[in-house]
């Protein structure tokens, strides 16, 4: 019987969404052209060559190593690309993904990447052509709502601030804007340098839709204990308590 990994406990919609994010079995909501993703990332001009830190692995003549024989390199590693990053800020007002879940998604599903979680932002580093593919996957899938999530290389402020009146996450550098047609447009790259054209990212999710897809537990949405006032807590809390207990004891066995 094939083993199916069990990623996250609980029967709340947030628990289910967290499992979806970790398993990588995500719904695709939009298709942003690759050139547009590259432009928003801002590391290279769309169509330009990739800069490299070493020659392609085939030309380098690798040492005889059993691990290198088992593990096939990613496309970026094989070509010797530079390591680049994409960094996301997700609003705590029911953004579909929250920093830890982008990291879990990256660590479980993306080969050769280095995810980093911070309090209000999340960064993934990888070889350039790999990170471009991973970023496109994040942009296109239900991990991202174009109003509540945005790519921010610096001045990442926004996660824990109130939303703007039009439902956008606050951005000091105004990298994205709500168009009069209801679509969200990227007007700057992730570090705030203006793009030569506006990139249409599509329509944002409605508030109800964002609450349905979110991975954040909140008392005004889905609380971690499950139904408020229930005598039996959701399994997520039981599992958390179990982990907390094991971590606190840290192998202590008074025998």
């Amino acid at each position: 019987m094939a083993y199916t990994p069990q990623y996250y406990p609980g029967s709340t919609s947030v628990g289910i969404n967290r499992r979806k994010h970790m398993s990588g079995n995500l719904e695709k909501l939009r298709d942003i052209p690759e050139a547009d993703v590259v432009a928003v990332m801002g590391h290279r001009a769309p169509g330009a060559d990739y800069s490299s830190t070493h020659p392609p692995l085939k030309e380098m003549g690798e040492p005889d190593c059993p691990i290198r024989q088992i593990v096939a390199p990613t496309a970026g590693a094989a070509a010797g690309d530079r390591v680049r990053y994409s960094q996301w800020t997700d609003s705590m007002y029911f953004a579909p993904s929250i920093p830890y879940w982008r990291s879990y998604w990256g660590a479980i599903n993306c080969k050769g990447c280095d995810p980093g979680t911070l309090s209000g932002r999340q960064i993934i580093e990888a070889r350039e052509r790999d990170i471009e593919a991973y970023t496109k996957a994040q942009y296109d899938s239900e991990m991202t709502d174009v109003a509540l999530c945005s790519m921010r290389g610096c001045t990442v402020h926004g996660h824990s601030l109130r939303l703007e009146e039009n439902g956008m996450q606050f951005d000091m550098l105004a990298r994205t804007e709500m168009g009069s047609d209801g679509n969200v447009y990227a007007v700057k790259d992730q570090v705030g340098i203006p793009l030569d054209r506006k990139i249409n990212l599509g329509k944002p999710m409605s508030e109800a839709e964002a609450k349905k897809r979110t991975t954040i537990f909140r008392v005004d949405g889905i609380p971690m204990c499950g139904k408020v006032g229930a005598r039996k807590y959701d399994e997520a809390v039981d599992a958390l308590h179990h982990m907390w207990e094991l971590r606190s004891k840290w192998g202590f066995r008074p025998e």
């Binding site: 290389g153 610096c154 402020h157 109130r162 703007e164 009146e165 606050f170 000091m172 705030g192 340098i193």
Partner: protein, 167 residues
Amino acid sequence: MVTESDTGSIQVEIIPSRFLLPATAQKLLNEIYGNGGIIRITIHGPNLPRSVPYGPGRGSPIDENRDLLIEVGGQAFELSVKVGRIRLELESEKYYEGLKAACERALPISFQIRRGKFFHTRQTITDYAKYGKVEDTRILGLIDPKAKQDRLAILSEENVAVHDEER
């Protein structure tokens, strides 16, 4: 616990559930101004820099944050923050209900309004460093202690005792 002021003035804080667009902020401030009885008022929120402050794009202009002019009570001034909170002092309690009604008229979103003590009354060392000896204590508590003095926009017919009052 809220300490009642000797002068009968009350301090009020208005917190909308979202950050306000400049047009809504202008509408709200005008409604508050129309209600009357304001001794002093301050608007608070995250900074809107005119250019990218740091990172690889440092110095790139942010046109969206420039020329955010709003007009309140016939005087125009430039917004340098995203309006997220308004604190004000009213002459007396009788203006409070009108203020609530003004907020309800102007804001398309929910908001909190509460009374308390939001401005300090004694001069601090920071105030001394910034203004020298303050004669008019209405200045106290109007801006963030860390903010530069040019963040203070004084819209008043009367002279206010700040040494660069030509602004």
